[in-house]
């Protein structure tokens, strides 16, 4: 039986495609972030924890997802920060507030250029939400 949340890499000829599922939108955002980090081969420093907050708005779930992951990419590539603790709240107006816990990145195998909107559609099913994300690499 499939776990209630998770992510899985799909075949894509040139770029990276990630299938993500979770019971709700905060869970989907968290799993997407964890999946993106896993694709990059990211590792963070033990100890010396840092926290970081993110507030974003998206007109729809897809926009919110792209903006959230793009923000994490920015923190990864420019500030050298990665996160493994997520406390995410999304209100009914698609306003996201996230408290992230993490640390300095010690290893990053591969570079993601961008999170794309390619065929991006958050779908609802009996178990919750599912989305397929294509990253430009």
């Amino acid at each position: 039986m499939m776990p209630a949340f998770g992510f899985q890499e799909h075949e894509h000829t040139a770029d990276w495609e990630l299938g993500v599922w979770a019971p709700d939108l905060p869970g989907l955002l968290e799993q997407s972030a964890r999946g993106m980090y896993a694709l990059s081969g990211m590792q963070i420093q033990d100890g010396l924890r840092q926290s970081h907050s993110i507030s974003l708005h998206g007109e729809d779930m897809e926009t919110l997802l792209v903006r959230f992951l793009t923000e994490l990419l920015w923190l990864e590539q420019e500030k050298g920060l990665g996160f493994d603790e997520f406390s995410i709240v999304v209100d009914s107006q698609n306003n996201l507030h996230a408290m992230l816990g993490g640390s300095v990145i010690t290893k990053l195998d591969k570079e993601i250029k961008a999170v794309t909107y390619h065929n991006l559609a958050v779908e609802t099913n009996q178990s919750g939400l599912r989305v397929t994300i294509v990253f430009d690499v």
């Binding site: 894509h12 000829t13 903006r67 590539q77 990053l108 195998d109 690499v137």
Partner: protein, 483 residues
């Protein structure tokens, strides 16, 4: 889904998806491919993405797809689309996140016989002189004011710093500087990402390669380009780094709202676009030009560093160790060009995403020395396989908006490549073939394995058979430096 029955065969190398294939297509799709390549392409979403691209407002002629096509996001890789000025659209996703990713080729008078004892040292020196790797910092750390000048002047900024010669500039597409760049249209984040990365290779499929000119097919053209059989050449493949990635990200975001304002219906949100004459379209064009000029400067600085590496290893040991520019081309760009379309000369924005400009003989955009032979076209193969130097043709001007292929094109996903190929074993195999490898990431090496790509020779046969390029020389790799 497109099937072979949906295609109209024009020739052995040219096929068409008619406009009637889908109601929302505004122009047909013209494919340069052999039948076998088409059948392979149908295994991914390349053709579906080409059909989606053919729905954009203001398209003229055909959407063109090159034989190195493969699935991308929005546009297929290997796609060319032209939109009319002033009201046609410009689409950041039709150009790509790595704006002005491209290739530079340097020639030499260093014979393989003379160079052979020094190849390993050359690979090491190139690796040391040319910064590379994930998120890697560049050879030049610029201030905000300097970055503005890079945006405005492109490779001429590098010339003023002593990193270029006049010949380098002349032998660069657009002379290394696209007009209309406005740093005021670039975000703070793009600036932050761009400032420290100038003069860096990056990672992924970017590389520096020492090649042998293995075979010459057009001796007069090769001679004009300075390429001689048995001599070394150097290729540099990279783009606009985080600066371009951020600019594209910013405008894909901004255009999500623009399409709503302009009432543009999209089949895929990654195809977001804005009319060329709109403030949004003009802003993107100005910002994209900044990234294009950054990329020209980036490759110029890396060429300068490659020359330093050659000097360090060969000076005093080899009579003439200099590297001179053959040409520098873009393969992810939007350019305002004039083309003859349905008998009418028309100003258009040509989107090339994984496709190379390939202007034919006599084109006014070419430097004087290349006017008689056509534009040099640089087609890198996969790691460990051949690369090609081609020349643009007159036919390419009418058949493909003066464009041709850009590489071998992937055929295997990165996921599958990692499953099937061990990076350390691949490195051993390539070194056993006499190819010196310097790689920052062994996992990254596996993703770029030769078996993950099409046969570049077959790609070249198609563009030559289709009349949109002609062969000049074939290069064989001797040393590969990857981030």
């Amino acid at each position: 889904m497109v099937t072979i029955q949906d295609l109209k065969r024009i020739s052995d190398y040219e096929w068409e998806i008619p406009q009637r294939f889908r109601d929302d297509m505004r122009v047909p799709v013209r494919l340069f491919a052999s039948r076998r390549m088409l059948e392979e392409a149908m295994k991914d979403k390349s053709l579906e993405q080409a059909v989606n691209s053919a729905t954009l407002p203001g398209l003229v002629g055909h959407v063109i797809v090159m034989p190195d096509m493969h699935q991308g996001y929005g546009f297929p890789i290997g796609g060319v689309a032209a939109t009319r000025l002033p009201d046609g659209v410009i689409s950041p996703g039709g150009i790509g996140y790595d704006i002005n990713c491209g290739v530079r080729l340097l020639g030499s008078q260093i014979s393989l016989d003379v160079a052979r004892p020094h190849l390993d040292a050359l690979a090491t020196a190139l690796n040391q002189h040319c910064p590379s790797g994930v998120g890697g910092k560049g050879a030049v750390n610029t201030t905000d004011a300097e970055l503005d000048e890079v945006c405005r002047q492109g490779a001429r900024w590098a010339f003023k710093q002593g990193f270029a010669t006049e010949s380098d500039l002349r032998r660069t597409e657009e002379s290394g500087c696209v007009d209309g760049a406005d740093p005021g249209k670039v975000s703070k984040r793009a600036r932050e990402r761009g400032r420290p990365q100038l003069g860096s290779l990056g990672a992924g499929n970017h590389f520096i390669e020492i090649d042998l000119v293995e075979q010459v097919f057009d001796a007069p053209a090769a001679s004009i380009m300075g390429l001689e059989q048995g001599y070394l050449a150097v290729q540099i493949h990279c783009g606009s780094r985080g600066f371009g990635h951020q600019i594209c990200t910013d405008y894909v975001e901004e255009f999500q709202g623009a399409v709503r304002r302009f009432g543009i219906h999209l089949v895929d949100r990654e195809l977001v676009c804005a009319p060329l004459d709109s403030p949004e379209g003009q802003s993107y064009l100005a910002a994209m030009s900044c990234a294009a000029n950054y990329a020209f400067t980036n490759r110029q600085i890396l060429a300068h560093r490659a020359r330093k590496a050659f000097e360090q290893v060969l000076a005093g040991k080899v009579k003439d160790w200099h590297l001179y520019q053959v040409y520098d081309i873009c393969h992810n760009m939007g350019k305002i060009e004039t083309h003859l379309i349905d008998g009418e000369r028309m100003k258009v924005c040509v989107h090339r995403k994984g496709a190379t400009r390939a202007f034919g003989p006599g084109a006014p955009e070419l430097p004087a020395e290349y006017k008689s032979i056509g534009q040099p076209v640089l087609v890198p193969g996969s790691m460990g396989t051949a690369s090609w130097v081609l020349a643009g043709t007159e036919a390419s001007m009418t058949l493909s908006f003066g464009s041709t292929c850009h590489g071998a094109g992937r055929t295997m996903s990165r996921h599958e490549a990692r499953r099937n190929v061990r990076g350390d074993k691949l490195r051993q195999d390539l070194e056993a073939e006499g190819i010196h490898i310097r790689a920052g990431s062994i996992a990254g090496l596996a993703e770029e394995a030769p078996q993950a790509y099409k046969d570049v020779d077959q790609v070249v046969e198609v563009v030559v058979g289709g009349g949109i390029a002609r062969k000049v020389a074939r290069l064989h790799p001797l040393a590969v430096i990857k981030g």
